[in-house]
Amino acid sequence: MLKDITLGQYFPGNSFIHRLDPRTKLLMLVVYIAALFIAKSWISYGMMLVFLIGCIAISRIPPKSIVRGMKPMVVILVFTGVLNVFMTAGETVWVEFWIIKITKEGVIRGFFMVMRILMLVTGTFLLTYTTSPIALTDGLESLLSPLKVLHLPVHELSMMMCIALRFIPTLIEETDKIMSAQKARGADLENGNLMEKVKALVPILIPLFVSAFRRADELATAMECRCYHGGEGRTKMKLLHYTLLDMVAFFVGAVLLAAVITLSVFGL
């Protein structure tokens, strides 16, 4: 079922991670991703993994839903893994067959690459799972606000992102409904060759686009009715402020980054 897509879904909760300021979480994600790309050794990867699993445990997000969110990633993961295993030159040859050569270096590299993508996506999921879309966009707007000096429409960008996130579940539900309706008229979405499958999408995509435009139109009218006129002079109901929790998180993040950098400097 389409409903099982968990992209951008928010799991309400009250854990340590849920209560962090969204800006802290966004910055931590940047630190985490940076550390992930700096990490080169088993030790640093292990440290990152422990950190990630710790975060998941603290957030009380059921691991099942994280695994489910990974499903769409399988193709990319397999592709990356296989490509790295076969394309990496190395000295310790494990298997040699025709033009295929698998080396120890290749297998290790492939493994690291897959781990890196997995951990990257899981970390990002953790952010959207524990942060409501509104908090997320508020945080992003606040973090990007210095760029207003460069005339970047920061508020508009974050509003767009907020609306996009808000409508993902709505549109998924809508797609589900349209698919059921066309199936009830005998549309065959599963069988047939590629051409037929593409053609079978037309009865779903057209109503979906029509309804997306209709919703956009209605939303625009509703926003106008409430006198929305952009970010100028707009106040917030929930003001963001850092607390002791955020200090703790920053400290942990700094230690992690420092450790990973140190390790990679010493070539570990």
Binding site: A181, Q182, A184, G186, P203
Partner: protein
């Protein structure tokens, strides 16, 4: 004759094994005779929509069976597909599923999927358009240029064109004006009479179901709470109100009259109300 549809101990659980797990149907059993007009009532979330999506094989029961003419619709892939054509399902706000360039092509979508010949498709499209009162000229325009009520008719015609033996409609009159509502309900009756089809209609309008249906199914909390003629169901007016359902306006008036001490039986249609009041008046004269 054997019932056309038999529903046995139907059970459906959404998202099993997740925090969102939810049992939408629980032990629902009933059977449907050919040519019956059945109303399905129940408040939001009572399982109505889940139930009707089982009847044409869009949803697979977690446990239990749906028998169409005595055959389990999940016994074979081909039979499931056949069930989609034999049991036509019109969703809520069906006008949002129109997609073709012309009304004609959109109505032809179902019959085309059935693999019928060009001439048979043509016959069905024209006949279905006739049932819902669309003119020849309207068949050639884009469905997106029509009014809301007309779009609804096109969408219903799209299902009728498959000539289903059982036609199921989920709130076919939602959001229409009184003239539009009456028109659609008349179209459905016309189709039922012409084909001796079985109609199942989900509705929130108690006056409509009281007037049109032979039988009512009341859903409450994922279960089938009541099953009987409108007469039998509306006697339990208080129970319906407790379930958060409405009762026909005229029934409400008569319940009040009774509470005020008049000797009247509960009624559910205007004709009955007139007859009951006449009887009361005459009785009053005799006394």
């Amino acid at each position: 004759m054997a019932p056309i549809l038999q529903i046995k101990e139907l059970e459906h659980t959404y998202s099993p094994g997740t925090p969102f797990q939810h049992k939408a149907l629980d032990g629902v059993s009933f059977s449907v005779e050919r040519g019956e007009f059945i109303g399905i009532i129940g408040h939001t979330g009572s399982g109505k929509s889940t139930l009707i999506q089982h009847l044409n094989g869009l949803l697979k029961p977690t446990s239990g069976q749906v028998l169409l003419d005595g055959v389990d619709i999940w016994s074979d892939k081909k039979i499931t597909r056949q069930a989609r054509f034999r049991v036509g399902l019109v969703f809520q706000y069906p006008e949002y599923q129109l997609f073709e360039e012309t009304v004609y092509k959109d109505i032809a979508f179902g019959p085309k999927n059935m693999g019928l010949s060009q001439s048979e498709i043509d016959r069905r499209v024209r006949q279905a358009a006739g049932f819902v009162g669309l003119t020849e000229k309207q068949l050639e325009v884009s469905p997106f240029d029509l009014s809301g009520g007309q779009k609804r008719r096109v969408a219903i015609a799209g299902v009728i064109a498959m000539e289903p033996e059982v036609l199921i409609l989920d709130e076919p009159t939602a959001g229409l004006d009184p003239v539009g509502r009456e028109g659609i309900l008349e179209n459905i009756r016309a189709y039922q009479r012409a084909r001796n089809a079985t109609i199942m209609m989900v509705s929130h309008s108690m006056s409509d179901v009281a007037r049109l249906t032979d039988r009512l199914l009341v859903m409450n909390g994922s279960r089938l709470a009541m099953d009987g003629t409108p007469e039998e169901i509306f006697v339990h007016a208080q129970q319906l109100l407790d379930m958060g359902l409405d009762i026909p306006d005229v029934t409400r008036v008569f319940l009040r009259l009774k509470a005020m001490g008049l000797d009247v039986d509960p009624v559910y249609s205007i004709d009955q109300a007139v007859a009951a009041l006449k009887k009361l008046k005459e009785g009053g004269h005799h006394a």
